[in-house]
Symmetry: C2
Subunit: 114 residues, 2 copies
DNA sequence: ATCCAATATGCCTCACCGGTTATATAGCGG
DNA sequence: CCGCTATATAACCGGTGAGGCATATTGGAT
């Protein structure tokens, strides 16, 4: 049954970093290793967790493995968020912080901070 | 420093259950204890984590402590989600799963499943 | 002042997680 | 077939987090 691997997977900062990396484009393990400064086995382990959470998919290219983001589970997160959204729509609407909704022109890749 | 307490706080199923409870209405510790079947000290501990993550606020009423949800951090989560949202807008839009956006009439409290 | 009800804290234990090093496995080029 | 590269798995370890019980604290009632 394994609880809810989604949250557990995203609870780790390194894993979130990997997810952010894969948001730009699919990457090989080597790239990820270099990008997030972890050891190769450690990175593989994190990738396994992300894989088992369904957050990433692998495509084998020669002896490389290309990891790519799978939007499904993140959509689940969004669905989880939905009931709470009205909270800050009703109580903080005066703040006018509606910065989401795929902003009109997206100047740069906002590079998720965390 | 403390990394990102938000994710850590929400990584625990019991804590998510508490958050879901507080979405309905503010509750006393006793109610929460009874609702999620944990021991009272355990519950208090979880509440402390949620408090330190900024997810809940306390209001003292007699010797009770009324815990209420603070929407701020959840909005942060939503902000984090934002860059990913276009993923399933562009790749899965045909699926037509736009069930969010504070659905027109919200028949019942959807009671977040997890 | 005392007792009770409600909540928080302190210890302790146990399991799990993240990290490392060493080793196995798979695919390619010679 | 052999060696090389890329990735995964195994074995191990230190830290941390969740859970329980007992105890301290706080506020109200009598």
């Amino acid at each position: 049954m394994s609880d809810a691997p989604l949250w557990t997977a995203l609870a780790d900062p390194h894993r979130r970093a990997i997810v952010a990396l894969l948001l730009e484009r699919p990457r090989s393990v080597g790239e990820i290793v270099e990008a997030c400064g972890l050891s190769q086995p450690g990175t593989s382990k994190h990738l396994k967790v992300l894989r088992e959470a369904g957050l990433v998919r692998v495509r084998q290219d020669a002896q490389r493995r290309l990891y790519a983001l799978d939007p499904g589970p993140i959509a689940e997160l969004d669905a989880w968020l939905a009931p709470y959204r009205k909270l800050w729509n009703t109580s903080l609407d005066a703040l006018g912080d509606r910065l989401d909704e795929t902003a009109p022109d997206t100047p740069e890749e906002p590079a998720p901070k965390d």
